[in-house]
């Protein structure tokens, strides 16, 4: 079991299809996914039982047009700060892979992602990975 599975969990998601749950976002496989069930914005929050430090984000989606990511190191999931905002090109229903490196490592207890718009009524999130790289012995979270 990786740290991702033990330390992190999805504490909130705006769409719920029991066959395609938000917990699929943290599953390392890109075969399983979370479906949004119509209308935008859609969002989810990932909570870490132990705060983590990361610099890299890998976000795999489909039909997402624009998204924003926020984090907070507070105990409570509030006072989020924007870390990354991006408009993705239309990948014609194929997977969109976004790799992003932050200027510096950040301490995170809650991570929020808001999908502002999509290229179709329904979009999906296949995986989200955090990577600390050189800090803290390069552990993968």
């Amino acid at each position: 079991m990786t740290l991702t599975e033990s330390n992190a969990f999805v504490s909130m998601a705006s769409s719920a299809d029991q066959d395609y749950p938000a917990s699929n976002i943290l599953d390392s496989s890109e075969k399983v996914f979370w479906m949004t069930t119509g209308l935008y914005p859609q969002e989810f929050i990932i909570t870490f039982k132990e705060p983590i430090e990361f610099r890299h984000i890998r976000f795999v989606t489909s039909n997402v047009k624009r998204f924003v990511m926020f984090t907070t190191s507070n105990q409570e999931p509030k006072n989020f700060e924007t870390i990354f905002e991006k408009t993705l090109p239309n990948n014609e229903n194929n997977l969109q892979i976004t790799d992003y490196t932050l200027d510096r490592s950040i301490d995170v207890r809650h991570f929020k992602c808001v999908i502002l718009a999509g290229y179709d009524s329904f979009s999906s999130v296949h995986s989200l990975k955090f990577d600390a790289e050189n800090s803290r012995m390069g552990k993968k979270y």
Binding site: Q18, E30, F33, T37, G38, S62, K65, N94, Y119, S121
Partner: protein
């Protein structure tokens, strides 16, 4: 089992009965508005529909657009995020039928990125004696524009449920189709 949400834009000429359809659909009971009130800009009505022969439910955000052309520009901004549309005409008013082409044009101009679909609805079927547009003509227009065709009476609450059942099942089938594609992709890449 899933609950889907979709934005349905209702458009068409003034006084064809868009608001009446939305109200009758939204409240099921005899919510037919007895006096005329021109819609300013747009109204929002919520409507949940259980898809026949499944556990799936679709919640419609009925975006009841004003037929008054002075609102057209601002309406278009709100139409961008629509998932489906419903163009309404009055079967006793030939002009409202002629204008359907114009409404369709406006809708397709302002549609956003979503893969939209729609229906054409002839309202006021209760006024059969004053009919000015035949069912055949309505069907023809709908077929040529790849829309489903319905005739209904908001006053008698006839044929309204069918429209929403159709839209709901089509919306769910698009959702299912999308999932099947994604699952197929998953199997092929590994």
């Amino acid at each position: 089992m899933v609950l889907l949400h979709g934005k349905l834009v209702v458009a068409g000429d003034m006084t064809v009965g868009k608001t009446a359809i939305c109200h009758v659909a939204g409240n099921d009971v005899t919510a037919f508005p007895k006096s005329y009130n021109c819609t300013n800009m747009a109204d929002l009505v919520l409507k949940q529909i259980r898809v026949p022969d499944s556990d799936d439910t679709v919640e419609f955000f009925l975006f009841d657009s004003s037929g008054n052309s002075i609102y057209l520009d601002s309406l278009k901004d709100a139409w961008v995020t629509m998932d489906m549309y419903c163009i309404v005409y009055d079967i006793t008013d030939r002009n409202s039928f002629k204008n359907c082409g114009m409404w369709l044009e406006q809708l397709s101009q302002s549609r956003g990125d979503h893969n939209v679909f729609g229906v054409l609805v002839g309202n006021k079927k209760d006024k059969e004696n004053y009919r000015a547009v035949s069912t055949q003509e309505g069907k023809q227009l709908a077929t040529s524009r790849k829309m489903e065709f319905f005739e209904c009476s908001a006053k008698d609450n006839k044929g309204i449920a069918e429209i929403f059942k159709h839209l709901a099942s089509e919306f769910v089938s698009r959702y299912r189709k999308r999932i099947r594609t994604l699952e197929k992709m998953g199997r092929e890449t590994y």
